[in-house]
């Protein structure tokens, strides 16, 4: 039998390494295919993220309607409020989240209690900036609703109910 040339002998002795190299290439190829298949659509289009996430976020339902929605129907109250001291707080700051009511007016919101709610902001508390109107609840009309004297939408004394 013909003696193997040095080159063929080398290849024969390195054959197992060639198999390993082949396995590696197969693995890398498989990985590349998997990547092409599995990366979410559009990923990286605007940055390193899935653009579908933005749509997901935007689809989140509203819980607060926003004052513009309230003012669309309750124009008279909006007008009264805009002239008085409570112009700044939005409707839902006191009335709570009302997107359900805004989309279906037959859903009745609950009327806030005319004392607990008011004290949440207006009870004197160290740390509240001094220009902000605060009262000592034990001394300032300790019994009864605040709305007995202060109209909720125009609380300045002498204003319309």
């Amino acid at each position: 039998m013909e003696a193997p040339t040095p080159r063929t002998a080398l290849f024969k002795d390195a054959e197992h390494l060639a198999r390993v190299a082949g396995l590696f290439l197969l693995g890398i190829g498989g990985f590349w295919v998997a990547q092409r298949l599995l990366v979410p659509e559009g990923f990286g289009q605007y940055g390193h993220y899935r653009p579908g996430a933005l749509a997901d976020k935007r689809d989140q339902p509203l819980v607060f309607a926003g004052r513009a929605a309230c003012e669309q129907c309750h124009t008279d109250i909006a007008e009264t409020k805009a002239k008085g001291k409570h112009a700044r707080p939005a409707c839902e700051a006191c009335h709570g989240a009302l997107a359900l009511h805004a989309s279906d007016p037959t859903v009745k919101p609950t009327r806030p209690d005319g004392r607990t709610l008011c004290l949440r902001c207006h009870a004197a508390l160290v740390g509240r900036p001094s220009p902000f109107p605060q009262i000592d609840a034990a001394e300032h009309a300790p019994e009864g609703a605040c709305t007995a004297c202060h109209a909720a939408h125009d609380p300045g004394l002498g204003g319309a109910p």
Binding site: A9, D13, E15, H16, L17, R19, V20, P40
Partner: protein
């Protein structure tokens, strides 16, 4: 001023009171540290020709593999959505050190460790493929990858390629464990973690833990097999352990000194934490019992002339304390970094659970698992050929 929340003193941001990374995240760098350290020890012989540690070469490789196979488990158990972890392969965010985990891990497993082990054992694999029957024989035949060439030239080629793989493996091992140090060290929000020294400290403590583990295991396996441990080998490992320890300790002390001297805005808060909540694990376990005592014991073996028995005893004591100490170091970094508030006004406590996904029991199982795997590996790929330990690679 005390707070009314149990376990919390002072003020913590509301979202900070619960720890984010717990025991399993302590375990992960401990495990990869052992892998890197065991591999560096193996490379000492293969690349740097420290032939005294030759008897541990194969054992070190198998130990590294056993621990490497377990390494991803604590991470998977910790994730909120482990089924999504493959996303790190699909869309790795290149600015995140954590994103490189999947690739570095795969690279190290496939292109370094498995390849090196395969090349090292190939001769035995081919022989056993021919002589073994049943399932085991099938496994060996599979491992041959279809090639039965164990001629001298082929084996010499294996040796050269193996040398190259080990050479590449050293920076790969550095990366495998160093990146974890960078994960912590690059978080500017956390002053306990944020330091450029972190990857280096992690690496040297990894080398310390890996060498200690292999030294301990070598002596244990010798004892189990009723074979005398090669004292030249153990003494050399002890020496390298001491060197690595001195460097590691110096780095940690440098970090400490720097913090105390600069005393930046976080210092008072961190100092208080170390003296109270972290006192036991940091001062007592990590520094005193886990570093200074082992260094002392190892130094004794260098300066005194001791009997073999005495040295073996000292090595056992030193390595066990070392492993506990390095675990404590990981604990102090991970848990310690979350015990104080980023407002520097408060502290919380780590509520370790027992039988949950991230609990103590799970951690214990995860620590035991590599030894089980190693037992299996040793049976499949013996680090020695019967009847006695063979360190010579080319003779039957």
């Amino acid at each position: 001023m005390g707070s009314t929340i149990p376990g919390v003193d002072g003020y913590m941001y509301p979202n900070e009171m619960e720890l984010q990374w717990g025991l399993l995240i302590v375990l992960y760098p401990f495990i990869t540290g052992l892998v890197a350290g065991a591999f560096i020890l193996a490379s000492l012989e293969r690349v740097f020709k420290v032939e005294q540690v030759k008897p541990t070469y194969r054992l070190a490789l198998l130990t590294a593999l056993a621990f490497l196979l377990v390494a991803p488990l604590p991470l998977q158990l910790h994730l909120g959505h482990p089924e999504r972890s493959f996303e790190m392969y699909l869309t790795p965010h290149l600015t995140s050190a954590m994103a490189m985990f999947g690739f570095v891990y795969l690279w190290y497993l496939m292109a370094v460790l498995l390849l090196e082990i395969w090349l090292e054992w190939r001769r035995e694999i081919v022989l056993l493929a021919a002589s073994t029957t049943g399932v085991r024989g099938f496994v060996y035949r599979l491992l041959t990858l279809g090639s039965r060439n164990i001629s001298e030239r082929a084996l010499a080629l294996d040796d050269r390629v193996g040398w190259l793989v080990t050479l590449i493996g050293i920076p790969s091992a550095f990366l495998l464990h160093g990146y974890v140090g960078f994960i912590f060290g690059s978080v500017k929000a956390n002053p306990w973690w944020s330091t450029p020294l972190m990857p280096i400290v992690f690496l040297f403590s990894a080398i310390v833990s890996g060498v200690a583990l292999v030294l301990l295991m070598y002596m244990a396996v010798c004892a189990l097999k009723g074979v005398a441990a090669d004292m030249r080998c153990t003494d050399t490992m002890g020496r390298y352990l001491l060197y690595a320890f001195v460097i590691d300790f110096s780095l940690e002390m440098l970090d400490l000194l720097h913090r105390v001297y600069e005393a930046d805005e976080s210092f008072k808060s961190l100092d208080f934490m170390v003296h109270t909540r972290l006192y036991g694990s940091h001062i007592l376990v990590q520094i005193v019992a886990g570093t200074m005592v082992p260094i002392g014991l190892l130094a004794l073996t260098q300066v005194l002339s001791l009997t073999e028995r005495a040295r073996r005893g000292l090595y056992v004591a030193a390595t066990i304390l070392t492993l506990v100490g390095i675990f404590a170091m990981r604990w102090n970094v991970v848990i310690g970094g979350q015990l104080f508030s980023k407002s520097f006004l408060g502290y919380t406590t780590y509520k370790m659970e027992f039988a949950t996904r991230e609990g103590l029991f799970t951690a214990a199982l995860l620590l035991a698992l590599p030894f089980l795997i190693l037992w299996g590996l040793v049976r499949l790929l013996p680090p020695w050929t019967a009847p006695e330990w063979r360190t010579d690679r080319t003779t039957a």
